[in-house]
Symmetry: C2
Subunit: 145 residues, 2 copies
Amino acid sequence: MQAYSHILLAVDFSNNTDAVFERALTMRKALNARLSLVHIVEFVQFDFSSELTMPQELELDQELLELADKRLQQLGEKYGIADSERIVSQGNTKREILRIAEEQKVDLIVIGSHGREGIQLLLGSTANAILHGAPCDVLAVRIRN
Amino acid sequence: MQAYSHILLAVDFSNNTDAVFERALTMRKALNARLSLVHIVEFVQFDFSSELTMPQELELDQELLELADKRLQQLGEKYGIADSERIVSQGNTKREILRIAEEQKVDLIVIGSHGREGIQLLLGSTANAILHGAPCDVLAVRIRN
């Protein structure tokens, strides 16, 4: 039994991305696995009562996608991850990550977790949302606040 | 950076224990890590309106602890895990696992996860509870239902 062969790291560009990256890279090396990066751009919420906002919305979505692509590229270069292993997609974060994990036959999703409690737990963090419904194993890397 | 040096596998004796064990053993080997097992026996809930139940309660707790000890020993022998790496404790599952993880300087908790959604998510599964508040990383191993 191989530990994991394809790791998908969900990147959210928070300040603590480095710690999660280092963990994923260490796992890639130790397990001799493939590592892909994914970042999801959520759709911008606009006030649909005004039809004047529509073109702005489309423009902003496009700008956000390009920005995300650029930032993911920078991280990929910093950590030595090939262009072909970087995925930027748009939609609901949880749904898109799970869809891509399934499509790419990922067997481990790595995600940062703040380990927050109380109201955050009820509202459901991304790590929590991913954990429930994931088609594969999930490694939650503790981010020190 | 070492991937993980001390893995704590939370065992719940469900039918799918084997899959979680195999994952933890593969990780132990691949990462050259120490692997400990922990099982928590929750306190038996009795009707405290009747004081007659008190001695029964203590007896049942003791029996449950002994049974858990025996089952964990069997699993340890099956998977080649030393006596010294088996911990049976009593109390609230989440609290005890987190306490032991901290005490034993564990850097990865491995736990089975059913990936249930909806009401189960709101009620909070053990994997979910562990994820929130863990002093270290958490690997949720997907159990096929």
